[in-house]
């Protein structure tokens, strides 16, 4: 018979305040296979763990049950404890009496009764646990990075500089992301392009970085250390090896200056063959298949002008989509954000007036590389009265966007400063809900801009309408409690950050969870902020939640170092939870074969029974759930173990 030690944790008062730990311990002691039952203030602490180690040695325990927090929190901790005392890690079982008991039930008696039931469920399972051997598998010394904004760029450089191969996938034709579109960065007013483009060039030139732009990750299979990713390269209709980036094609394109430039937020124009911006990496042209006359109508004059003019004959309309497979050990997701679509707030008339623009559009307007060459010109005139409206698409329950986008306060303050710099006699008013200037140098910058004469008014903008030649903003001044009308000839909506479609697509490909706000979910909000629930997949930048550039870079470096850990070690341990067939009762019906998503079930024609390829099996148990004879089972989740828990939980413990 098993010799079980059971340990009930107080977790300070987190458990002990609503659960009578003494009663739980006493009840657990009555289970037939229990040799020792104890409770302690903090089982995860050093003395707590030592208690277990000592008991394993002294009482020759062969199973350990700890009733404490969620196994998702400390299962690994206690498995290590057991191992250090010579007990197989899989002879450990954890009972969740905190997250799923003490924290959610107010009634102490009910919580205690439930805790006892849960401990008995674990004990009945523990008695049937089998020692398992952890497999060690090699790690492919390469990383896949999804997204080529500042987060992806930084992560790629760090990993590549450490000597590992990086496959960087960016869905647009160039690296750079949103940061490339910004003019100055708060609060130091560094020029965004000046600090970003050298990094882009480094990525482009790095011998360890395999850059795939205009590409998307279509499929990812495998597990930590051994992922196989399929990447779809969209046709550029330009031979990357031939194109020199001279730009003659764009000059001659029949649609020159007729297509809205995505990079300039539609305020500037481009040709059908284009680079998004002059510093693009790679500096290779792309034919836009949605607009190109030749690709949409099959005809562009006598001959496509771009083809005729290209000195290296790089234009190739016969290009087709290509698929590339790469083997990687780890994956960093850096898919960024999408700006809030301001037309979803019709009262702010973003779709109606050309002098109502968003913060990102303002960046292009004020940028020296933008459509106006950095001149602040709106509708042919220099604006004199500018109003900023904050929290557009952020902190808005009606829209379902409850979060603060974290960057809008600061970018609006910076933009207000830039306007006053260009048009010193302008009247700039910022209408805010709260100003959140929380970062290093933020408050000081706000103070400076306020002293420069920008008006900050605690008011909620409610409506924008035409008034005479210009606009009027109706708002509610929340200090005065009064409705106020402010005249403006330019209104900038500080649109917030939303999870982008890129992140949503990647979450589906990689099976990543998203938090309630739709951003990708980290494994633990405090202690594992760059890990995901899937081993070997890490998050960097705004895909995880809105953040500014320094935070994004910091997180990208953290994700890179996390991804480097298994790559540097060169091997990872794989959970031995996998399917197992009992030859004696398998009837060879092959029902399980259709259930397996990983082709891990292999039929043995000779014996007429199913076998399992353990390297492919992920241990989900779909096969075992379908097996009509019970021949198929999952290690660590056997029928016996699960039935024991069902039985135990069906018959609540009574003291009598």
């Amino acid at each position: 018979m098993a010799r079980i030690g059971v340990y009930v944790c107080h977790c300070g008062v987190n458990i002990a305040s609503s659960i009578d730990v003494e009663r739980v311990t006493k009840a657990a002691g009555k289970y037939h296979a229990v040799v020792v039952a104890r409770n302690y203030a903090y089982m995860c602490s050093d003395p707590g763990q030592e208690l277990i180690r000592k008991d394993i040695r002294e009482h020759k325990l062969d199973r350990v049950v700890v009733a404490a927090c969620s196994p998702r929190m400390h299962e690994v901790t206690f498995r290590k404890t057991c191992e250090s005392a010579g007990l197989n890690a899989y002879c450990f079982e954890m009972t969740n009496i905190r997250e799923q008991c003490s924290w959610v039930h107010e009634n102490g008696d009910e919580a205690t009764a439930k805790a006892v039931d849960l401990v008995f469920s674990s004990l009945s399972r523990a008695a049937l646990l089998q020692p398992l051997t952890v497999q060690e598998v090699p790690v492919t010394p390469a990383a896949l990075i999804i997204g080529g904004g500042i987060a992806g760029i930084q992560a790629a450089l760090d990993i590549a500089d450490s000597g590992f191969q990086v496959h960087l996938v960016e869905k647009t034709p160039s690296l750079g992301g949103h940061m490339a579109r910004l003019d100055k960065t708060f609060p130091t007013l560094d020029c965004s392009a000046c600090i970003l483009t050298p990094k882009m060039v480094d990525v482009g030139n790095h011998s360890n970085i395999h850059l795939m732009t205009y590409a998307e990750v279509e499929k990812v299979e495998g597990f930590i250390g051994n992922y196989k990713a399929t990447i779809r390269l969209k046709p550029r209709y330009v031979d990357m090896d031939q194109c020199t980036g001279c730009g003659l094609c764009a000059e001659e394109c029949r649609l020159k200056d007729r297509i809205d430039s995505e990079f300039d937020s539609g305020m500037g124009k481009r040709s059908a063959v284009y680079v998004p911006f002059p510093q693009a990496v790679p500096l290779k042209y792309t034919v836009d298949e949605e607009h190109c006359l030749f690709l949409t109508r099959g005809k562009c004059g006598k001959e496509p002008a771009c083809q005729a003019v290209c000195p290296t004959h790089a234009i190739d309309f016969s290009q087709k989509e290509k698929k590339v497979e790469v083997d990687v050990g780890t994956i960093v997701v850096a898919t960024g954000f999408e700006p809030f679509d301001a037309s979803r707030k019709p009262e702010l008339a973003y779709s109606n007036y050309s002098n109502v623009i968003t913060g990102l559009e303002f960046e292009r307007l004020i940028s020296a590389s933008g459509p106006t060459g950095g001149k602040l010109i709106v509708n042919g005139r220099e604006p004199r009265k500018v109003v900023f409206i904050q929290c557009v698409g952020s902190r808005d329950k009606n829209l379902g966007n409850e979060w603060c986008s974290r960057v809008c306060c600061m970018y609006a303050i910076k933009q207000a400063h830039l306007i006053r710099e260009k048009v010193p006699d302008s009247r700039v008013t910022v209408l805010y809900m709260d100003l959140r200037c929380f970062g290093k140098g933020f408050e000081e910058f706000y103070d400076r801009v306020r002293s420069e004469g920008v008006i900050f008014r605690r008011a909620i903008g409610s409506e924008i309408y035409r008034k005479g030649e210009g606009l009027a903003v109706r708002c509610e001044d929340t200090f005065l409690g009064q409705a106020v009308e402010i005249e403006a000839d330019l209104v900038v909506l500080s649109a917030g950050l939303e999870p982008g479609t890129g992140s949503i697509d990647v979450s589906k490909v990689l099976k990543l969870s998203r938090s309630a706000d739709g951003f990708l979910m980290e494994a633990h909000p405090k202690l594992r902020p760059v890990d995901t629930a899937t081993d070997g997949v890490y998050l960097a930048g705004c895909c995880q939640g809105p953040k500014d550039i320094p935070d994004t870079v910091a997180q990208a470096k953290a994700a890179a170092s996390s991804a480097l850990i298994p790559m540097i070690r060169g091997k990872v341990f794989v959970e031995p939870i996998s399917a197992q067939v009992n030859d004696d009762i398998c009837c060879g019906c092959r029902v399980c074969e259709a259930m397996c998503e990983y082709k891990a079930t292999v039929f043995d024609e000779e014996k007429g029974v199913m076998t399992i390829n353990a390297a492919l099996c992920k241990g989900c148990g779909s096969c075992a759930g379908a097996c009509p004879t019970g021949a198929m089972t999952i290690r660590h989740y056997t029928d016996d173990q699960i039935f024991a828990q069902v039985e135990s939980l069906s018959r609540p413990f009574t003291d009598e």
Partner: protein
């Protein structure tokens, strides 16, 4: 089917003192990646729900053999809850779809045993839906309360 209904009425009429003290007893099967994590989040966020449910953690709802559910009901449990990832979010591609099909089948089996199919509930709850988990457990507990004790409990 006829006899089932008659029996049920009798059960209601002959409720004993024990039945008055009765409160719903539910076993839950939760997948490690979504619903179990959602239940943990309900705890971390200190949301409250009835202490009626006891959860068994599995890697995936696709692991659930219908016999686990039948076993629970035959042992006298009043309700069985199954929680998995939203369609398309399964950590193992499609285990939740397999569970869905099996639950539909199991409900039909339950009916033949004279057990109300409403006693078996399947929900998709993601790791971020702590509030939803608490809400659903509250709601399911009420459903079971209105159905009364499982008649197998004799």
């Amino acid at each position: 089917m006829e006899s089932t209904h008659v029996n049920m009425d009798e059960t209601v009429k002959t409720r004993s003192v024990n039945d008055v003290l009765w409160s719903p007893h539910i076993i839950g099967f939760a997948c490690n990646w979504c619903t179990y994590a959602g239940a943990d989040l309900a705890g971390t966020s200190r949301m409250k729900y009835p202490a009626s449910i006891r959860i068994i953690r599995l890697m995936c709802t696709g692991r659930i053999d219908p016999t686990y559910i039948l076993k629970a009901f035959l042992e006298g449990v009043d309700g069985v809850f199954v929680g998995g990832c939203h369609p398309g979010d399964c950590h193992y591609q499609s285990g939740n779809h397999k569970a869905h099909r099996r639950i539909i089948l199991t409900r039909k089996l339950l009916q033949q045993f004279g057990i109300e199919p409403e006693r078996l509930r399947l929900e998709w709850i993601s790791a971020s839906e702590g509030a939803r988990f608490a809400e659903i457990i509250g709601d399911f507990t009420e459903t079971i309360r209105s159905l009364g004790p499982n008649r197998q409990k004799r």
